[in-house]
Amino acid sequence: MTRTLKCHVGIGAAVEGEALVANDNFSARYDLDRLKGVFSRPQHALCGQSYVDKILVLNTAKGGVATAWMLHEMKSRDMAPLAILFNRTNTILAQGAALASITMCDRFDDGDVTTLIKSGDRLRVDPIAGLVDIL
């Protein structure tokens, strides 16, 4: 049965894909091997896992400004996540998502999105409506 989560209006186009979830934070510079398409920071909860074409579900954005360019560069090589859902985003991830045309939403009405969604769940994200369906 489909469950629908309400969130703030986001960025990008509606997409459908598989969730990769962790109660951890995100920075493209700090956490990723962008050439291999995997999380590479040893302390990250998703270390070793591929993020390519996944809908990342994470707590918040952290660290520096580089991610604003890096999402665009990753997308140009087809090595980007399909979408990113946060409990709360920061400005850099929003700016990066806008430049790269990567779907991004945050601020979910029902609480902690990293517990509402599980890795492997099939999701449909509609950022214009501010809705995420768990299919």
Binding site: Y30, K62, A68, W69, H72, Q95
Partner: protein, 417 residues
């Protein structure tokens, strides 16, 4: 969003394609963060190193540079964060012609666009510090947190695309730290640890940043009795921003919005969580970057770039000593500081020691993984609490020590406890 007639005209494409792109980009961000309108900004600072930009990012600048000048002339000055390649010293570092080529293409396009290549993350110390309450569009988290907190200026973290958009339009969406209510404290920290070295200041900033853990938290910090110099607050803020995505702190009696505590407390101050930070908390953070008698492959002073006075401190510690042959040493500063440091003899002292001073770059923005592999480095030692947080993801084993201990380690090739 409410757009004035000028913004509406830019959005409609009446003032050129680049400005139309800028408004379209900014409106997406403004809507997400519930901005009611746009606020004029006086200057912008852009992070755009070639590793982050990639070929497609450089191509974006070239596309704009190819437009007629009236379609893309900058409405406010735009300066740059550190570059990724020091074109005077990239082969010895193991950087490739491809990397240098991408850097040259960016420099050419940026120059054509009228971007001033200051290549610095310490513009608040060396170029043009923003004034109190000045609305700016700054990139580099260290630049933003210092400008917001120490100068009392108003900026969000503006990633490269948004800093470029702000320079093209002359505006940025009015949300976040442009608003009075967002600048009030959300957390209160009583500090029992008294920072002595710049590294201590960084560690303290990191502990506070980690506990805040969100761009939207604003820490109010009390209890620091040590003199809060510009370099101390630089390391404090840069680490806080790195570990916590924090963009503003208030230091009681020091930062201009917090001469007295009441001026930054929210209306319902009883809701403000209070934390104590002890020496043990700081030791615990440093313990994550410590190792007994570790062999050091490379010592790095960077992140943020060194001020002239930090250059002097490093130079004085190097005098009459020699770097160990198994331990490399790099020092990153801006072109402006380099010129003064050269005249003062600091560069000579550092390079006679066996270190290398890089101009207009910052180590972690220089294809850090590729140069690690090219030089066979693994264990890196720095006095920057920020840089050790970043470089783990690039495959380094980062260790943290004071500037004095870093130079001692460069001499003997090992970090002695």
């Amino acid at each position: 969003m409410n757009l004035d007639s000028n913004c509406q005209s830019m959005l409609a494409g009446e003032q050129g394609k680049a400005r139309q792109w800028a408004l379209e980009h900014q409106i997406q961000i403004g809507r997400l963060f519930d901005a009611e309108d746009m606020v004029p900004v006086s200057q912008a600072h852009m992070m755009a190193d070639p590793e982050s930009l990639g070929e497609c990012g450089v191509a974006l600048f070239e596309k704009f540079a190819a437009l007629d000048a009236h379609e893309r002339d900058l409405r406010v000055p735009l300066i740059t964060d550190p570059r990724g390649v020091d074109l005077e010293c990239y082969r010895p570092l193991g950087q490739t012609e491809e990397m240098a080529g991408l850097e040259r293409r960016f420099i050419a396009a940026a120059s054509e666009l009228g971007i001033v290549l200051t290549n610095t993350c310490i513009n608040y110390q060396t170029i043009l510090p923003p004034a109190y309450a000045e609305h700016v569009a700054f990139g580099d988290t260290g630049v933003v947190i210092y400008s917001n907190s120490v100068c009392g200026a108003r900026s969000n973290f503006e990633g490269g695309p948004s800093a470029l958009a702000a320079a093209l339009s002359g505006y940025t969406p009015r949300y976040g730290f442009h608003l009075d209510q967002v600048r009030r404290a959300t957390r209160r920290f009583i500090v029992e640890f008294q920072p002595g070295t710049l590294t201590d200041w960084g560690i303290l900033g990191a502990v506070i940043g980690k506990r805040c853990g969100s761009y939207w938290e604003v820490p109010l910090v009390e209890g620091i009795k040590m003199p809060a110099t510009s370099d101390a607050l630089k390391h404090f803020g840069a680490a806080m921003a790195s570990y916590g995505s924090t963009a503003l702190f208030h230091l009681v009696g020091v930062t201009p919005e917090c001469r007295v505590i009441d001026s930054v407390l929210p209306e319902n101050e009883s809701s403000l969580p209070v934390d104590t930070i002890t020496a043990d908390d700081c030791q615990e953070l440093q313990g994550g970057f410590a190792e007994e008698d570790a062999a050091i492959d490379v010592v790095v002073f960077a992140a943020p770039q060194l001020s002239l006075l930090e250059m002097q401190q490093v130079a004085n510690l190097c005098k009459g000593r020699q770097r160990h042959s198994d331990t490399d040493m790099y020092v990153c500063t801006s072109q402006a500081v380099y010129t003064d440091a050269l005249a003062a003899g600091f560069v000579d002292s550092i390079e006679t020691f066996g270190g290398k001073v890089l101009r207009g770059t910052c180590f972690y923005q220089q294809y850090a993984a590729e140069i690690r592999e090219a030089n066979g480095w693994s264990t890196l030692l720095s006095n920057s609490t920020k840089i050790v947080n970043i470089l783990g993801g690039y495959g380094y084993r980062p260790l943290l020590a004071s500037m004095e201990d870093c130079i001692d380690a460069a001499v003997v090739g090992r970090l002695r406890s």
